[in-house]
Assembly symmetry: C2
């Protein structure tokens, strides 16, 4: 019973963080966890099966989840907020396919050397960075 177990873990995490377990929160997390790409609030709501929650509720919860490091908020040139579930709380980046929209996490961060070079060039001490990667996923790039 993998499902049962997953749900139990998620509910425990909610409670452990001081949240009440509501069907809305469960639905938001379920949608985000099973999505292969960043989702807007509208997209999150439309993907809720059997349950439809209000827009403000989703925003409020997403904001709280972000404070706990559970979701990452991305906002691109279209000015729309999109959210991704972070399976790892370690520093990581997301690569998104420009053709099919699928996104995956790249664990770890290979930027160490590059950042050092940029620190030397700029004279700044770089403390934080945000990298967004775009390209072609394995399926889309193969012919």
């Amino acid at each position: 019973m993998v499902h049962r177990n997953t749900n139990a873990v998620r509910d425990a995490a909610l409670r452990g963080a001081g949240f009440r377990v509501t069907p809305q929160r469960q639905a938001i997390i379920r949608v985000l966890e099973t999505s292969d790409r960043p989702l807007s609030v509208e997209e999150i709501i439309s993907r809720m099966k059997g349950y439809r929650s209000g827009v403000p509720t989703v925003y409020r919860n997403l904001q709280q989840f972000a404070e706990h490091g559970w979701v990452e908020t991305l906002v691109g040139p279209d000015q729309i907020m999109r959210f991704v579930w972070c399976s790892t709380s370690k520093h990581h980046h997301h690569v998104q396919c420009e053709q099919c929209g699928r996104a995956v996490e790249v664990e770890g961060c290979a930027l160490k050397r590059a950042l050092e070079a940029m620190e030397a060039k700029s004279g700044f001490r770089i403390t934080r960075h945000q990298l967004q990667l775009f390209g072609l996923c394995p399926e889309c790039k193969g012919e």
Copy 2:
């Protein structure tokens, strides 16, 4: 007459790109060129000396300038568009000081090796990336 010269160069660039030379455009460029950080539209207008143009005009021009690669549009978590003048049209990144807000360009891109590592990890072919750097500038980091 450095000023005269700079202005002449800028006006020629405008004309060369098919733009008419208007005081609004001149003012926008002047503000952006002399700014040491990304500016919102509101900030751009408030910094215009002796001339005040309408909000839509600034947005429209900024959009056109961006299409010519003259300005870069950044939008952070606060959802507000900010614009920086790009002195070079080559690929580059910006580092912004988290304390004083000053931002500088880092010419070139030291990410080649890091991107290759991430391509290998993800299986994606990475075609485009956007990197935002934050840290402490030379003045702010000293002590």
